[in-house]
Amino acid sequence: MSERHVYYPAYYVKGTAAHVGQCFEGYDASLLASMLALAVTGKAPEPGCTPAKLLKLCDLKPFYNVQTAIDAYALFEYESTEGPERVLGAIKEIANGCRAEMDACLNERYREFCALTDVDYMPIKTNTALLDAGVLEGSEDGAGKSFSMEEIRALFEKSGILMPAVVSYYELRKKGGEDADD
């Protein structure tokens, strides 16, 4: 059997904040992060590997207010026989599926709300970028390096991207003084 490796992939999710009174005008980072958390966990990525485990799932709101979360993140323990590039590719592929799930969920719930309030439904158009750390850093190698969430957040802000996005990356984790994914 191939050697199993433990990875710590993570998603940084950038949404669009909205006032809770206009919640359909936003793109809720916490909702998308929740979808990602459920899509990655609960099943083994490959036969013989343990199911991916959710380690963290948080919005990044600094304090309470009535705006939905502008960004959120999810971190996993992920066992695989594959190399880091293929694992990150699989993680990005899951994000692709969740992007579609989010789009469908927002529109389904908005359509239902419009029916309830007797307002003409007009589809919510979402346009969510899927990136990896390499793209943000301009290195073309998103799988070869680990980052802290704060680093990814800073790189994203520097990128000037205003649209919602999901950034897939490896989390920098210290275990016994070494990076766990080394």
Binding site: L31, L57, Q67, F113
Partner: protein, 509 residues
């Protein structure tokens, strides 16, 4: 007047008053005070301009009041004009953040990137009729309108047929402690003989669907609860449970409340945090009529859907179990802890969670489990009562003014019962039943210490609280913008006409 309001809005936007920022809200309270200080009426009556420090507020925030005594105001008849002075933060502006407090600089920047904007935003930008910037719509334009109206009416105070109380409050964007503190000032004024006919807020009004240009007027306020969940799981069960709970509840119309054709927005998740074996999740939940106990039951059902393996409790049940084990002592222990949290300024939701964790431990509850409870803020819902003569009279007076304005300006108006966003107006009138209030208190850990809403004072004052708001789009987003022709031109005339209607005593009050 239109130009004055526009200029004052620009100046108010330029004063950073982000909610919770160090010195921001306190700073703008002095700006507002200085504005009134320069007016002849307040030079002649300096005691009519006063500020109130918010009790136990670590940021030194203040309510500002400007009272104009009408020379012809009979029986202490008084109208309140109120507006909040804080804004949400500017993180959403991203690279445009440096311009967030400058309406003109931001407009220039946006013009430079207009091809990247959506059609609606670009059209508004190019029309020249919209003003941009943090707080431009929510609600420094409304604040500017009310400051300007108060200033103008103060010039004819001798002949004014009502008294006018202008009030501006901080902390609207989260805890509403500004307006709550103001109730003691209003109560004192009432004891001195001021009779409060009604209050007008100018919180921002938005289109209800794309292309909607109806100017909505609101006869009351939606209420808000903050249902919270503490989830305990094995493995990553609490995290997956939290994710499923967010998927079940957030934006789901199944959880909307309503009154006739008016409906609330669905709940939105405002906190999601999982690490280790526990998760903390809470939602903004709006109500028009739904009782607190009904909301709690529904939220427990949602927790059961999210964590089918878990025992689901409400906080009151956890406390009952804890008391069975430890006796009444646990209650006084939690009371002490809640008081300590209140004094130390712990985030009010985190303080509630801490009390829940302690009660769970005392009750010996083991994972997997979910506990549903309430935390701050709690905003009461209210609307005008058609059975009450003064409240029906206010509605009729507003209808009259709008009819006249519609004929003159061509604007289209619609009156709705509940302002659908959270607003300080919630705290001026209380329609909740005693039963609903009891259910809230039983499941709101440390409510008396952490978030002591002056329910009795609100009930005693019972001030009809309507909203005549500026017209804007996309509050709390970097695309926030206010429509100036209506907000700076038509709106002030509506407010003045309504006041005039009461001056002339055409309305029973």
């Amino acid at each position: 007047m239109t130009e004055n309001i526009a200029a004052l809005t620009r100046s108010l936007v330029a004063v950073n008053s982000v909610n919770g920022s160090d010195g921001g809200e306190r700073g703008i309270s002095f700006f507002i005070e200085e504005y009134f200080k320069s007016l002849p009426y307040f030079k002649a009556h300096p005691g009519h301009l006063f500020a109130q420090d918010l009790p136990n507020d670590s940021l030194g925030r203040r309510n500002v009041f400007a009272l104009v005594n009408g020379g012809n105001a009979a029986d202490g008849r008084t109208v309140i004009l109120h507006a909040h002075m804080d804004t949400v933060d500017v993180e959403d502006y991203g690279p445009l953040k440096p311009c967030a407090f400058s309406c003109d600089a931001l407009r220039e920047k946006l013009l430079g990137m207009k091809d990247a904007l959506n059609d609606d935003m670009r059209k508004d930008l190019e029309s020249g009729e919209w003003m941009f910037g943090r707080g431009s719509g929510d609600m420094k334009s409304g604040l500017a309108a009310f400051m300007t109206i108060t200033a103008e009416l103060s010039e004819k105070a001798d002949s004014l047929g009502v008294n006018l109380l202008f009030m501006s409050n901080p902390v609207e964007e989260n805890l509403h402690t500004g307006v709550m503190a103001s109730l003691s000032v209003i109560r004192e004024l009432k004891e001195k003989g001021y009779q409060f006919l009604f209050a007008v807020n100018s919180d921002c009004v938005t289109p209800l669907y794309p292309g909607d240009t109806t100017r909505y007027m609101y006869l009351g306020s939606i209420g808000k609860l903050l249902p919270c969940f503490y989830l305990l799981g094995e493995g990553d069960g609490a995290g997956r449970g939290a994710a499923r709970l967010v998927k079940e509840v957030s934006l789901n119309p199944k959880y909307c409340d309503g009154d006739g054709s008016e409906k609330t927005m669905p709940p939105s998740v405002l906190k999601l945090r999982y690490e280790g074996s526990g998760a903390f999740v809470y939602f903004n939940y709006m109500v028009m009529q739904k009782n607190t106990d009904e909301v709690l039951t529904q939220m427990k059902e949602a927790a059961a859907i999210a964590m089918p393996e878990a025992c689901v409790y409400e906080f009151g049940e956890v406390m009952a179990l804890a008391k069975e084990k430890l006796g009444e002592q646990i209650e006084s222990d939690l009371f002490r802890e809640a008081s300590a949290h209140a004094l130390s300024g712990t985030d009010k939701r985190e303080a509630g969670l801490s009390l829940v964790k302690r009660a769970v431990e005392a009750a010996g509850i083991a994972p997997p489990a979910a506990v549903a409870f309430f935390a701050a803020p709690y905003c009461p819902h209210n609307t005008l009562d058609p059975e009450a003569e003064n409240e029906a009279g206010l509605k009729a007076a507003l209808e009259g003014v709008l009819k006249e304005t519609e004929a003159k300006t061509g604007e289209h108006f619609r009156i709705l019962k509940y302002f659908a966003c959270l607003t300080d107006s919630s705290y001026l009138k209380l329609d909740d039943s005693e039963k609903a209030v009891t259910a809230l208190k039983n499941n709101f850990p440390g409510m008396a210490q952490i978030y002591n809403v002056p329910l009795d004072t609100i009930r005693a004052l019972n001030i009809p609280a309507i909203n005549i708001g500026v017209f804007m789009k996309e509050p709390h987003q970097w695309t926030e913008r206010v429509y100036t022709p209506f907000s700076f031109g038509v709106l002030p005339e509506i407010v003045k006409k309504l006041i005039e209607a009461y001056e002339e005593k055409r309305v029973n009050a």
